[in-house]
Symmetry: C2
Subunit: 227 residues, 2 copies
């Protein structure tokens, strides 16, 4: 289970303070599928970064699998992140000198997976996002939406327990976007906890539980069908 208790995240720029997250509390069960929506600048990426152990709160507690994350050492946080969390970044964070295939394969290389199995799993996830003909391209030789799909493929290859997706369809046409969210939903059906940040209500409303963020606060946390 994921438990956020009274999370605050304050950024300081010069003498200006930005209260990016303002007393956020949230409980997420294993295997849940929820979306987070809200205006630009409302704190969605900041919330996801804290959930994904890429950032630490200014105050409040984050309990993951019964362990208080804020008490872990940086090394322990990094290994927890590698093992448990898949992340699709809003701006992909692909490695420029590696091809699409090498970018997707990288987590398996770091995990010591043998080459034969790596090739097989890498090809499988790249085919699932329609990029089997772009495997040798580097990021600068790919379109915006193709880079986004490489990032999605990479996030799924370790079959993490939790998958955090920050605007996974922002650069995709409607058809490719729906293919992507269906892929992520299939992983959720197999047991992965799925959290999707999105500006697109057509994507966000597919989740049964929908959280709305406004000015760093949860303004709405709703479970149930939309009519």
């Amino acid at each position: 289970i994921i438990l956020l208790q009274h999370i605050h995240r304050i950024f300081t720029v010069g003498d200006q303070e930005v209260h990016a997250l303002d007393d956020v509390s949230l409980e997420i069960a294993y295997g849940e599928y929820l979306s987070i929506m809200g205006p630009s600048g409302s704190g969605k990426s900041t919330l996801l970064n804290i959930l994904g152990l890429l950032d630490t709160p200014t105050s409040g507690r984050y309990i993951l699998d019964g362990r208080d994350i804020t008490t872990l050492s940086p090394d322990e946080q990094a290994s927890t992140r590698r093992e448990k969390v898949g992340f699709v970044f809003q701006f992909f964070q692909l490695i420029p000198r590696l091809t699409a295939e090498q970018n997707v394969e990288l987590p398996l290389v770091l995990a010591g997976t043998p080459p034969g199995e790596r090739k097989k799993r890498t090809w499988k996830v790249l085919k699932a996002v329609g990029l089997e003909n772009r495997m040798g391209h580097r990021p600068d030789q790919l379109s915006g939406g193709q880079r986004q799909r490489v990032a999605i493929a990479r996030s799924t290859i370790m079959q993490p327990g939790v998958l955090l997706a920050d605007e996974p369809t922002g650069n995709l046409d409607r058809h490719s976007g729906i293919e992507v969210i269906e892929l992520l939903e299939e992983l959720n059906r197999q047991g992965i906890t799925l959290i999707v940040v999105t500006h697109d209500p057509e994507i966000g409303n597919r989740a049964l539980r929908r959280i709305r963020l406004v000015d760093g606060r949860i303004s709405c946390d709703h479970t149930g069908r939309i009519d």
Copy 2:
């Protein structure tokens, strides 16, 4: 007037050829407002890069203001681009070490505009995209949609003859996205030729002329109201 005649753009990756644009011909009048839509990877950014003199065709002719662009020297192409074209990049291309204000002000600095007038015009366009409270933030201190709005503000500050926008609302919530497109449409009413690449039909269908790109070809070039 903008005239593309039988434009081809072929990329080579290893021994693979990608025919990103395949015999594209297009005529655009001064002051026109058109949208370009199509699947991920269909050639939209490539087309916009050629129109914006950021890339040269493999074959075909590009006539801008009666001059054949392909016959200009690189220096002449660069100065034509600076004077005539505003570009909103799909991934913003902001300068990491400069603040939002400095990023937006940069074209005016390069053009030799005096400091007093620069400050005034910079503040005006940043206010128009709702970022007057983020002027001192650097790109890594801004949300995704805020970075996108800085890129939009920067593209408008020189009041170019032609404004090319590649997915200007991809990282914005619906409300901010509509504010942005209304801002661009206001510039079009003042005389700027406006070309918007978008995946969002709600944005793309606002243009009276809509071009659809599929596999590097124009599959549809339609002028008239949508019912």
